[in-house]
């Protein structure tokens, strides 16, 4: 309904040609935002570990997309470009705005919808995993998020991080070992 209303407003013959063109451009760009908002926001959320920062990061990513529309239209891999810009925006924000101690934010986990069918054990495991991500160094967290949460290949992760595949494999392996160690200690099981 909202989309129909927007379209009707755009095609209103009383609007002059310039205003109509601008409205069409805005509608087209908003369509692009809708198409990639989940990719950008979820990645930013997992790396930044809080929704407010993730919103700021995502807004910055889409503004960069808007400013580079001409270049982006000629690009073959927009998804890869978006991942790269999102990761860089996360690092930039963290440089400007250092994160609080991750343990202190234990009660401020990323706000996602809770699944009513999830068991208590699963919810506890999810909480432990989210905390373990927060404890990782920034670049290891980014590598793990892109590989294991976003499902990118090692080569795609390397491109997004601006690193080599070997460096990414090292970061991923270290991150996984740390996650496992944290979850073990969280549930009180050590070997």
């Amino acid at each position: 309904m909202a989309l129909l209303a927007a379209t009707a407003a755009i095609d209103d013959p009383r609007r002059d040609a310039g205003e109509t063109a601008r409205a069409r451009d805005e509608a087209a760009f908003e369509g692009l935002v809708r198409q990639y908002e989940r990719l950008v926001l979820s990645t930013a959320l997992r790396i930044a570990c809080n929704m407010d920062d993730a919103q700021d990061i995502s807004q910055e990513v889409f503004l960069r997309l808007y400013r580079n529309l001409d270049k982006v239209r000629r690009m073959e891999n927009l998804t890869g470009w978006l991942y790269r810009v999102t990761v860089n925006a996360c690092f930039d924000l963290r440089r400007r705005r250092p994160a609080s101690a991750p343990v202190e934010l234990a009660n401020d986990l990323p706000s996602t919808e809770s699944d009513p069918q999830q068991t208590a054990a699963e919810a506890e495991r999810r909480r432990a995993l989210e905390l373990s991500l927060r404890l990782l160094p920034e670049k290891e967290r980014a590598a793990l998020v892109l590989r294991d949460l976003q499902g990118l290949s090692t080569e795609e992760v390397a491109e997004a991080l601006g690193s080599s595949a070997a460096t990414v494999r090292s970061q991923i392996s270290k991150a996984r070992v740390k996650v496992r160690a944290f979850v073990e200690s969280y549930f009180g099981r050590r070997r």
Binding site: I172, R176, V183
Partner: protein, 179 residues
């Protein structure tokens, strides 16, 4: 420092499917003999399954609505600033072009207007203005004679070829200049 078996990081890559076939085979052989790494691999696989499940977890749609609203507001603001900047440049260019035009294009010369000559001279003129040289050169002819039946002076206007030279002769009806 990562405690435990030195194979931990390779096993971590193996559990995530990130080793090539040769490396994976070597890791499998190690797992057959290392109980700690077997337990580690089993636990890590569960962790990775939990992380991948997060990929499908929905995010509250309100967050996307908020993001879109913020982005489009900034986009509209940027378009407005861009339009003002463009208008400023165009105004500056137009002003520069106007100044250049005024400097380059020569000013036209004013057209000399013909002197206005009264068809009848006022009676108050007591001393007609005569250009001696022009009168000698030009042909005299009487332009107009106003006949007066009273004792009012008669004004005779003499027009020459030179439009700037006009001779007014004021006389009485006897042809004498009034005192």
């Amino acid at each position: 420092m990562i405690a435990g078996c030195p194979w931990r990081e390779r096993v971590a890559l193996y559990a995530g499917g990130d080793l090539d076939s040769d490396e994976a085979r070597a890791a499998e052989l190690h797992l057959e003999v290392c109980e700690a790494c077997r337990a580690f691999a089993q636990g890590l696989r569960a962790d990775l399954a939990g992380l991948r499940a997060e990929r499908e977890r929905p995010i509250d749609p309100a967050h996307f609505v908020r993001l879109r609203a913020r982005v489009m507001e900034r986009v509209r603001g940027e378009r407005g600033r861009l339009a003002w900047r463009r208008a400023g440049w165009m105004a500056t260019a137009a002003l520069a072009a106007t100044i250049l035009l005024l400097l380059v294009v020569p000013k036209p010369r004013p057209i000399a207007t013909q002197p206005r000559v009264a068809r009848e001279a006022p009676v108050e003129y007591a001393h007609p203005v005569v250009h001696q040289a022009a009168v000698r050169r030009s042909r005299r002819r009487v332009h107009h004679v106003r006949q007066s039946l009273t004792s009012q002076p008669i004004v005779v206007k003499l027009v020459t070829d030179d439009p700037n030279v006009v001779i007014y002769w004021i006389t009485d009806n006897k042809g004498e200049t009034p005192q």
